[in-house]
Symmetry: C2
Subunit: 187 residues, 2 copies
DNA sequence: CTATGAGTTGACCGATCGGTAAACCCAACG
DNA sequence: CGTTGGGTTTACCGATCGGTCAACTCATAG
């Protein structure tokens, strides 16, 4: 029961679920893709739902770490960092493997508000909002919490349209809108 | 082979897919819920995918008609109509049956860009964008196409956050952001 | 050497998946 | 009356679903 095997399993499941969807990928396919038997998987996770929740935890950590790192690398002042969010998004959208947001997809397939998977998706967005709030507060915006929610709004909209229409345009449109909102907040 | 039977079937399928997701609802469950046998359904639709596409066509028509009607009822000038989009959305979000956008969900479950279901979802958003463009042009915005895309961005983000966080807040945040963008476009 | 115990395996469970075949019902027509 | 034919039903197809089980491997302990 090595912990590294478990991590490897979660990483593979993450990729498979991200590409194919949660209901669409079966445990058999997952086992075959990972190169481990199904029984071995069920030693690590008691149900498929537990495995999904583990992939969401990993993805949450991955994504927020990546975003913060990119934003810190691209900008120095809080105001610039708010805009850099959308430059980082543009990079993400243009990756060939980009297929929308894991959590939007999770909440699409598990819609019940008190379903653990739906709740995990909501929590991910809440943590992102917290990060945006630290930036708007640091920047000294007039209504920092309102601005942070609006930035999050633009980010989610950009993801949806990057997936359905044009990735680059979605990112640059969102960036332009954010710039107006940021300026309007006194920055 | 009455056409009304077919329509009734599509309407029932629409409700079932909207509540449960496309992969999660099987044809057996659909047949039982509609009160018709599976074979009868397969007389109208050769595959499940065809049925899904029919539900999306119905939903596209329903939603865009509803939105235009509500916007026309709520506002008279083009500028007011652009804002009224978000008042209409607020009404939608607060319905107890609200469970995000059918097309976001469809594109989440069928992610391949050249999959017919994904394409139908993209087309729905494109038609919405066209409607927004007529409004921004009529309002005399400085960059009407840019503004229309940003309004669409806010609308998609609002849907996602209404589903995951707070419906009323998502709508009002988007409305406030739209107001700033509209004013910034010289209106 | 044998005994043990964790970890792994292929085979299998009942249920359900999307989709089909053949029998059946019943009104219209001769 | 018998025949025909569209619309329906029940029963079924192989494949796959999430999940389980007895058997097997194999390093270690005595």
């Amino acid at each position: 029961m090595s912990a590294s095997k478990r991590d490897e399993l979660v990483q593979n499941a993450l990729k498979a679920f991200y590409r194919g969807g949660f209901h669409a990928i079966g445990m058999d396919a997952l086992a075959k893709e990972t190169g481990v038997s199904k029984t071995a998987m069920y030693k690590h996770f008691r149900t498929k739902e537990e495995l999904i929740l583990a992939t969401l935890r990993l993805r949450d950590e991955q994504f927020r770490n990546w975003l913060v790192r990119r934003v810190e690398a691209l900008a120095s002042t809080p105001r610039e960092k708010l805009l850099a969010i959308f430059d980082a998004l543009a990079e993400w959208f243009c990756e060939p493997e980009f297929r929308s947001c894991m959590f939007i997809k999770a909440s699409s397939e598990f819609q019940d508000r008190n379903h653990p998977i739906h709740a995990a998706s909501a929590e991910h967005k809440r943590l992102l909002l917290v990060y945006f709030q630290t930036l708007t507060h640091a920047a000294g915006a007039q209504n920092p919490d309102d601005l942070a929610r609006q930035i999050l709004l633009l980010k989610e909209g950009a993801i949806v349209l990057a997936h359905l229409h044009d990735p680059e345009m979605a990112a640059s449109d969102a960036r332009a809108a954010a710039q107006v909102l940021i300026t309007n907040a006194g920055l």
